[in-house]
């Protein structure tokens, strides 16, 4: 335009235009291709997990593994809710599909390697996602939430319907191969399992992070914010919504498979509506709109429960109270955090980081 004199901007991010600021380490890191940046970050995280599990015992390994698969499930939900703006109360249904796929594969096809089971699970749960996503594509907000809620309620009931195949209310129990013989003595079985879960989780997260940092993620955020304007920019609104649903279903299924693999069981009681609601609550607590939110949410989901149980044990509480203590804890934490940091634990972490940076 002709007159550029009116730079009345009050933007915080306004930069002096004559002297471009030297790129910081963070800027350089963000300029790397996603194909380099995210796998590198995942490798670093994997190394950290290996280091961590080398000092924890079997219980600690299990908990670390649980954080892994919850993180994957919540990250999938993040893509759906935080990025594409579609609310699902049925994410646990896809974890159910993943867990039972894994259990059935291990029981009926014991020769198949773990990685192949994982791939089969992703394919199956994505297929389920296509079906559900296409059926619900025309539903908005509360209607979509209701439809997915029905799925979360209905699907686990299949186990009672087909007890021969799915083991009824007791579910399916199986044992998985632990660490390979060549690593015996170097790494314990639980360490191996936690590492396998985290390896799978991190691969899934690399894919999710790549998607959300690129064109597809931008398309999702655009239609979340304004469908009409996104459509006019050429974004296929309906198709993009279904794609988000399918990807999130795939992540949920893979997380369920990891859970079954880690625990050696798949039971209907693990996949009640409470699971779907907990995942949603953990996502909000962790922070909507950033993949970091999934990490904080998963840590909170696992460790609030652990601490709640430990506290109940220490106080020798009645089992009725003790069983409900973790969920009460979680609820209180959720409310407190959201009151102070609407963007959740991730929001808290970034405001603290800002403070530290400014303090220097």
């Amino acid at each position: 335009m002709v007159s550029l004199s009116d730079h009345e901007s009050t933007s915080r991010d306004k930069q002096p235009e004559s002297t471009a600021p030297a790129p910081t380490v963070g800027d350089r890191w963000r300029a790397l291709p996603a194909l380099v940046r995210f796998p590198l970050a995942a490798l670093a995280a994997f190394a950290a997990i290996l280091a961590l599990t080398s000092v924890t015992g079997p219980t600690g390994d299990l908990r670390i593994g649980s954080v892994g698969y919850y993180m994957l499930a919540i990250a999938g939900l993040q893509l759906l809710i935080g990025y594409s703006g579609q609310i699902s109360l049925g994410h646990g249904a896809f974890m159910f599909i993943g867990a039972y796929t894994m259990a059935l594969l291990v029981l009926n096809q014991p020769a198949l390697p773990l990685w192949l089971n994982m791939i089969i699970t992703v394919v199956l749960s994505c297929t389920a996602g296509v079906l559900v996503g296409a059926a619900t594509a025309r539903l908005h907000g509360p209607y979509l939430a209701g439809a997915t809620l029905a799925l979360a309620v209905g699907l686990p009931a299949l186990t009672v319907r087909y007890p021969e195949l799915l083991g009824g209310s007791n579910g399916l129990a199986f044992s998985t191969r632990g660490a390979p013989a060549s690593l015996a003595g170097v790494i314990t079985n639980t360490q191996w399992q936690a590492a396998a879960v985290w390896g799978t989780t991190l691969i899934g997260l690399v894919v999710l992070a790549t998607i959300s940092a690129g064109r597809l993620g931008r398309r999702m955020r655009a239609l979340r914010d304004d469908e009409a304007a996104a459509g006019l920019a050429g974004i296929p609104v309906g198709r993009t919504k279904v794609i988000a649903f399918v990807i999130s279903a795939g992540a949920g299924g893979l997380a369920g498979a990891c859970q079954a693999y880690l625990l050696g069981t798949a039971t209907p009681s693990s996949f009640t509506v409470t699971l779907s609601l907990s995942l949603l609550a953990a996502l909000v607590l962790g922070g909507l709109g950033s993949m970091w939110g999934a990490f904080f949410g998963a840590v909170a989901l696992v460790y609030v429960e652990v601490w709640g149980e430990e506290l109940a044990h220490a106080l020798a509480l009645d089992s009725n109270v003790a069983n409900n203590l973790p969920i009460v804890f979680f609820g209180v934490l959720l409310i407190l955090v959201i009151l102070v940091w609407p963007r959740g634990l991730h929001g808290m972490a970034s405001s603290l980081a800002d403070l530290v940076r400014r303090g220097r």
Binding site: M1, V2, S3, L4, S5, D6, H7, E8, S9, T10, S11, R12, D13, K14, Q15, E17, P33, A34, L35, F38, V207, T210, I211, G214, R215, L216, R218, R219, R221, A222, R224, D225, D226, A228, A229, A230, G231, L232, A233, G234, I235, P236, V237, G289
Partner: protein, 264 residues
């Protein structure tokens, strides 16, 4: 516009739209040739936005056809426009509040990407070069409209005038052949308005423009041809000078309680 008219880019013919008992448009036609700026004016509620909606596939007219480069568009939807080479701004700002100004414009540039679905999903292939291309193009568009300084800011933190510039950048970044502007000047200060007029004139070399606007100074300054709507019917067409002196137009606006130039 009467002699040696080049083939029109966009031609709407006999468009009739009814909402229940209300006839929003009755047998309305207009055409836009490459490199021309056509103004579409009329009092509030005349049917201007409705005509935009019919042209862009948001609503289906009961009668009439919309053709693009001589081909009749049937069953087209808004998200097909970008690939046809048509861009449209909405009457509101309609920026994506959760995306930075730069990302907003990058969404508009989406169709310039060369990679396919596999690249989007895996980060392989054209993923990175597409990101770079879109970012460069978006940055250039922001610079063109004097909003480059706002690239990293969220729309909500920007002054209204700058937000309008970002919205304009988002609309033209993908180099459309036709730009539909719905009240681009509403809420702008005089200085911003001058800049907008200059921008619209500069579009002539690259694209045709169909402009809905209540600010008559702007309309008269930039349009080659004007179509006047009143109660869903075309009451006058012609070059700005003729429209300015047309008694039917004056009457339509005087009959309207709101003053020309004020807009809700």
């Amino acid at each position: 516009m009467t002699t040696t008219t080049p083939a029109p880019l966009l031609a709407a013919e006999g468009i009739t739209v009814r909402f229940g008992g209300l006839t929003a448009l009755e047998d309305v036609g207009l055409s836009v040739t490459p490199g021309s700026v056509v103004g579409l004016i009329g009092p509030n509620g005349a049917g201007k936005t409705t005509l935009f909606n019919a042209v862009s596939g948001v609503i289906r007219p009961q009668r009439g056809t919309v053709s693009w480069k001589g081909r009749v568009l049937r069953r087209h939807r808004p998200h097909h426009l970008a690939d046809l080479g048509i861009a449209r701004t909405l009457q509101g700002l309609n920026l994506f509040p959760g995306l930075s100004a730069l990302d907003n414009v990058m969404v508009g540039a989406d169709r310039l990407a060369r990679g396919g679905p596999l690249a989007m999903l895996t980060g392989l292939g054209r993923y990175h070069s597409d990101e770079r291309r879109l970012r460069e193009r978006a940055m250039a568009a922001l610079e063109e409209f004097g909003a480059a300084h706002a690239a990293r800011a969220m729309p909500g933190t920007l002054p209204f005038g700058v937000q309008k510039r970002v919205a304009l950048a988002r609309a033209v970044v993908a180099e459309p052949e036709l730009l539909l502007l719905d009240e681009p000047a509403s809420g702008l200060s005089g200085e911003d308005m001058d800049a907008l007029a200059a921008a619209i004139r500069s579009f002539r070399s690259r694209m045709g423009v169909l402009l809905v606007e209540h600010h008559m100074d702007l309309v008269m300054a930039v349009c080659d041809h004007i179509v006047v709507l009143n109660f869903g019917e075309v009451i006058a067409t012609g070059p700005p000078e003729r429209i300015q002196s047309d008694p039917a137009v004056a009457e339509a606006y005087l009959g309207d309680t709101e003053e020309v130039g004020a807009d809700g």
